[in-house]
Amino acid sequence: MDLNHLSDEQIQKYLDHAESENRSEIENHLRKCSFCTHTLQIYKEIYHQLDNDSIPDLSKNFSRTLVAKITAQQDKKTFFWENIIFFFLLLVSAVGTSYLINPMPLLRTIIKPLLDFYNSTMGQVQVQLNGGLMIIAGGIIILILYELLYNKLLKYRS
């Protein structure tokens, strides 16, 4: 080791404290060899610069803005499902009330078209789209339109 200069690997391992066995041998060499001492100094400076490297920070309100965004997205999801549940309950109560008042016409309106749907061709389905199915289809369309409108409103609010 005294005759040859230290390799880059040996110097880096020395600085990483990974060269525990040859440490004293390396230190002896460094005392005698100005070239290797100089290389060591360069590496020390590199280590110092890397340890103190500066990377720009994110904006000051990064976490606050992000949590607000996440909360808004969550609220939006909850709102959508609340609407679905509300509409479903409304439908159930409407159907229930109709059934209690006069069940037979309702049964005829809902069950007969459904039975016909399974038994008829696609052309006949269009004819069978009467009261009960129209209510469901209308409800879904209203929900979709409402969701689209809500999206637009949220976009402007944020």
């Binding site: 290389t39 100094q41 360069i42 994110l58 976490s63 992000l66 996440i70």
Partner: protein, 201 residues
Amino acid sequence: MQVGNDNLIIEEILSGKTDLFRILIDRYQRLVAHIVFRLIPNPTDREEMCQEIFIKVYQHLATFKFNSKLSTWIGRIAFNTCMNQLRKEKNSLFADLYFSDDEKKDQSGGEIQFHSQITQSQPDTASEKADRNHKIQECIAQLPSPYRLILTMFHLDELSYQEIAEITGLTEGTIKSHLFRGRKLLKEKLVFEFKGEEIWT
């Protein structure tokens, strides 16, 4: 202590206290920013990418099994998100690691020049030191991004070889090799940059 603390915060967040996610963001945004800033070349995309990463972290928080450190788990999400973005842009991250033979010769040449260029050291003035630091930072910035990322995670974030390996999916041997080659390349760049000058006291 922080690991236990992280676990408690995660449990609170999962029980509905979304506001507490701010603590995790504040705690790990530095690591995420380091990964993003080292890998994403376009400065205007970086903050948005950090947001995307933390949204993913939030969405998958329930799947975190506490088998690894939260920092490593978040780091891996950050690394994979950046890699996916780079793949989308057809920007091969590790392509610049494989130098041609000519480039290898050029880089190793720096060490030979070093012998003849060392002169007697003299004390630095403040402006010389500032200038030198600026040039060193420029040399760091010119390193291939995988080297810069691994050097940053090791030196600045003080992550272990194992943690870096978990984040990047590389082996510990490869991490050590990249660290060594990155620093050596940096030394050679500096020697070349400062040739003929008295550089270090």
